[in-house]
């Protein structure tokens, strides 16, 4: 029983790290893309633009958040 629970914990941790990791915003974005795709599927042109658009917006926003401030823009507290 203890072995099973340990394996389940390891399995759960693996999928959490794999899908969420340190970028939960991208996991949420994936769920939003799926939701938007189903919501707009019956329309013609709109989903073709909006579905890739949501993915683009999410990754651009996430990358912008992941930037390290350059020395010129770094505040004294960020150097500590």
């Amino acid at each position: 029983m203890a072995t099973l629970s340990r394996w389940l914990r390891v399995f759960g941790r693996f999928w959490w790290e794999f899908l969420v990791g340190d970028t939960p915003e991208l996991f949420v974005a994936t769920l939003v893309v799926v939701g938007v795709a189903f919501a707009l599927a019956s329309l013609h042109v709109l989903p073709v633009i909006v579905v890739p658009g949501v993915a683009i917006a999410a990754v651009v926003w996430s990358a912008a958040r992941g930037r390290v401030p350059s020395q010129a823009n770094r505040s004294p507290s960020q150097d500590q």
Partner: protein
């Protein structure tokens, strides 16, 4: 017998093979670094046996999980699930590759990882004369963990297009190429343009992800399968623009793309 000719392959088959080959190559380079470190410090027999055992387990997972998926799960549900998985993976690879190429994140340094792994293993007690359990375990773990991502990509891409065998072959080809190149260049794996490959694969995984989620949800893409190439073009152009924009505020030397 499996016969493949270039005329029997569609454009999405080629994209699939390229994506799986690239993803496998990147992960195999990382796995090979660990196997080389284990072999050098703990003996080649145990390291190679550990790596081979991990490859067998990964192959079994593809067969045991992939084949039932293709046979028993409705294709639209399968496309949404694997599309979401590919999209999640692809967005993460894209983000990481952009940040590395623009100098906001340090490049993956195989030489440094090799040196650190060797130092850790050499400090791990005397090497057994016959079969070294530490060397076996480290090589097994390295290949298994890096290979798991490859297995997920093989199963996802292969199952959603009904081309599991083709995806597995592309992964196997990448593993063989990396092993041969690794044997020739030995410890110079840092010269492999890992981030460029990762960026290319990130573009493909994201494009496949968006495409399959849409297909599974019932969206009719203009031009059908050919729209995949449009998505690849869009994400490639976006990557070029983002790297250029991110480089303007880079605190580190930028990586090659």
């Amino acid at each position: 017998m499996l016969l493949l000719t270039s005329s029997s392959l569609t454009s999405s088959d080629w994209v699939l093979m390229l994506a799986v080959f690239g993803a496998s190559a990147v992960e195999m380079v990382e796995a090979l670094t660990i196997v080389l470190a284990a072999g050098t410090s703990r003996g080649w027999r145990s390291a190679l046996e550990g790596a081979a055992a991990a490859l067998v387990v990964l192959g079994l997972i593809v067969a045991l999980v992939g084949v039932p998926l293709v046979r028993y799960v409705p294709i639209d549900a399968l496309r949404v699930i694997v599309g979401a998985l590919l999209l999640s993976l692809g967005l993460n690879w894209l983000r990481k590759a952009w940040l590395r190429a623009s100098g906001h994140k340090a490049l993956h340094d195989e030489d440094k990882i090799y040196a650190e792994t060797v130092a850790e293993l050499e400090a791990d007690g005397p090497v057994s004369a016959r079969r070294d359990a530490v060397g076996f375990a480290v090589a097994f773990k390295g290949v298994f963990l890096e290979g798991t991502e490859v297995v997920l990509i093989v199963i996802s891409l292969g199952a959603s297009q009904g081309r599991l065998g083709l995806a597995a072959l592309a992964a196997l080809a990448a593993a063989l190429v990396v092993i041969v190149v690794g044997a020739v260049v030995a410890r110079q794996l840092s010269s492999v343009p890992e981030n460029t490959i990762k960026l290319t694969v990130g573009v493909m995984l994201t494009s496949f992800g968006v495409f399959w989620v849409g297909e599974g949800a019932g969206i009719h893409w203009p031009g059908s399968d050919a729209f995949l190439l449009v998505l690849i073009g869009v994400f490639a152009a976006l990557s070029a623009a983002m790297i250029s924009w991110l480089r303007r505020s880079a605190p580190l030397p930028t990586g090659a793309v």
